[in-house]
Symmetry: C2
Subunit: 234 residues, 2 copies
DNA sequence: TAGATTGTTAATCGATTAACAATC
DNA sequence: TAGATTGTTAATCGATTAACAATC
C-alpha cells in the first residue's frame, strides 16, 4: 500500500557503483525475513529459493535475485543457511542499529502505532509522541508521553532523533514536517495523505491508505462490472 | 507502502481489450483527487497537466497518461474541468457504490480504522467488527459492535458483504481469511504481515507496514553508512 | 558421477518518458 | 493566426523472467 512519489525525482548523477536495490525487492525482504524466522523456529537449517518461492507464491528466480542484493552467498544443491539469511537481511535493512523516532498526531492511528510493540523487532523505537492540540499534551499513551508540538524541534536535536512519523490529519502535516526538518530529522514516515514539501535531502515515505483502498475498491467494483471472461487481464 | 504479492501471478489469458490500468497509475489517482478537491474549494474551474505536475511533483506527461485511463477528455489549451475530473475519478474508482466491509481484529490498529470516518468519503463503510477473543465480543468501538468471529461467515452471507479487513495478529490471519472466504467475501484488505492462502478468485491486498518500514530504515541506515558523494543513486 | 541449485548474463515485459500531430 | 495543451504513437528505462554455465 504504498507509493513514494518522492522517488520519482531521480538525481542525474547516478553512479553505477553505488549500492542499489530495486524498491520492490527491498519491500519483499521483510516477508522473506518473517518466513525464515518461522522456518528457524521449526528447526529447519537450510532452505532453497524454490522452497521459499513455493511457500510465498513467488517464482524462484525472483527470490534468488532479491536475496542476492543482500550479499548472501548460498551453496549449490543445498541452498542458503536459514540463520545466516535472517541475520544478513536484518543487517542489510539496518534493524540492528535501532531507529529512535518521534511520532506526531496522537489520534486513532497514532495510538495504534504507539502500542505496536512489534516494531521494536524491526529496529523502530518510538520514544515520544507529540500533538498540536495542547489539550492532549501531558497525557500518556501506551507508556509514552504526549508532548506539545512546539517542543519537538528542540528535543529532536538534543536527542539526535533522525526519524519522524506523521499520523496527524492532512491539514497539519506540512507544519509538522517543517518542525521535524527544523529539528534535524532526516526521514519522515508520512501517514497523512498529502505531498510534503521538504528539502531534497530529507527522505519521505508516504504510507497512503487511500491509494491502497483505491486500488482495492477499483478491482472489487470492476468485478461486478466486467463480464467474467474478460476479468483475467490485470 | 504496499506490495501486493498476489499480483505477480498473472493469467496467461490476458486479453488486450479488457479494461486495464497500471498499478502505479491506479495508486496515484487518489492523490490527484485529493489535490483537485482542494482546487475546487478554491474556486478553480480548469486545470492542466503541467499545473498538476508542478504541484504534485510529477512530470506532466505522466499526469496526462494517468488521467487518460479514467476516460476523461480534456480541451487543448485549457486543460480539464476540475469538477468533471473529480467526478470521473470517483466513478472510476467505484467510490460511488459504497463498499460495506467487515473488520476482524479489534486491537490497536483495528480500533484506529473503525474510528476513521474519512473512509466513508472513499466509498468504504465498515459495518461491524469481529474478534477471535470471546472477551472482546459484545463491546462497542466507535459505535460499531464487536462480534465473535464465528458469526462472521453467516452474517457476511446474509448481508452480502464483499470486503473484509484483517487487522489481527499474523498468527490468526489465515483462520480469519478462511472464515471470510466461507462467508462469500470477495476481497481482503490484509494488514497482517503474512501471505494468505485463498482461492484464486479472491482479491487480496496486503498492507504490510513492515515492508514499508524496511524500505525506509534501509535508506536511513544507508545515509549514515555511505559516503556523501555516492548517495545520489537510488 | 549425476542432479539440484546457485550465480550471472541476456531477453522480455511493462511503466515511464519523449516526440509530435491534432485541436482549441 | 499563434501558442498552449491535449491525445497518441514510439523510445527508453528498469524490473522480472529466462537461459545457462559453475559448483557442490
Amino acid at each position: 500500500m504504498v507509493i513514494d512519489m518522492n522517488l520519482s525525482i531521480e538525481s542525474p548523477l547516478k553512479r553505477p557503483d553505488a549500492p542499489s536495490i530495486p524498491q520492490p525487492s527491498l519491500r519483499r525482504l521483510p516477508q522473506y525475513h518473517h518466513y525464515l524466522v518461522d522456518l528457524e523456529a521449526k528447526g529447519i537449517g537450510r532452505v532453497s529459493c524454490s522452497t521459499i518461492g513455493r511457500d510465498l507464491n513467488l517464482v524462484p528466480i525472483q527470490v534468488r535475485k532479491d536475496l542476492q542484493y543482500t550479499g548472501i552467498i548460498g551453496k549449490p544443491k543445498t541452498g542458503y543457511s536459514v540463520t545466516e539469511l535472517i541475520l544478513t537481511i536484518e543487517t542489510f535493512l539496518g534493524w540492528n542499529n535501532v531507529n529512535e523516532a518521534f511520532l506526531v498526531g496522537a489520534g486513532n492511528l497514532g495510538t495504534a502505532l504507539l502500542g505496536h510493540e512489534r516494531f521494536s523487532k524491526f529496529g523502530l523505537q518510538i520514544v515520544a509522541a507529540f500533538d498540536s492540540d495542547p489539550q492532549k499534551a501531558g497525557i500518556w499513551i501506551h507508556n509514552k508521553a504526549v508532548l506539545p508540538l512546539d517542543k519537538l524541534a528542540d528535543l529532536a536535536q538534543r536527542m539526535s532523533i533522525h526519524l519522524g512519523i506523521i499520523t496527524a490529519p492532512a491539514e497539519n502535516a506540512q507544519t509538522i514536517a517543517d518542525e521535524m526538518v527544523k529539528g534535524g530529522i532526516q526521514a519522515i514516515w508520512n501517514f497523512a495523505p498529502v505531498k510534503l514539501n521538504v528539502p531534497a535531502h530529507i527522505i519521505v515515505h508516504n504510507e497512503d491508505l487511500y491509494s491502497s483502498l483505491a486500488s482495492l475498491s477499483w478491482k472489487l467494483a470492476r468485478r461486478f462490472r466486467v463480464p467474467i471472461q474478460e476479468r483475467e487481464a490485470v
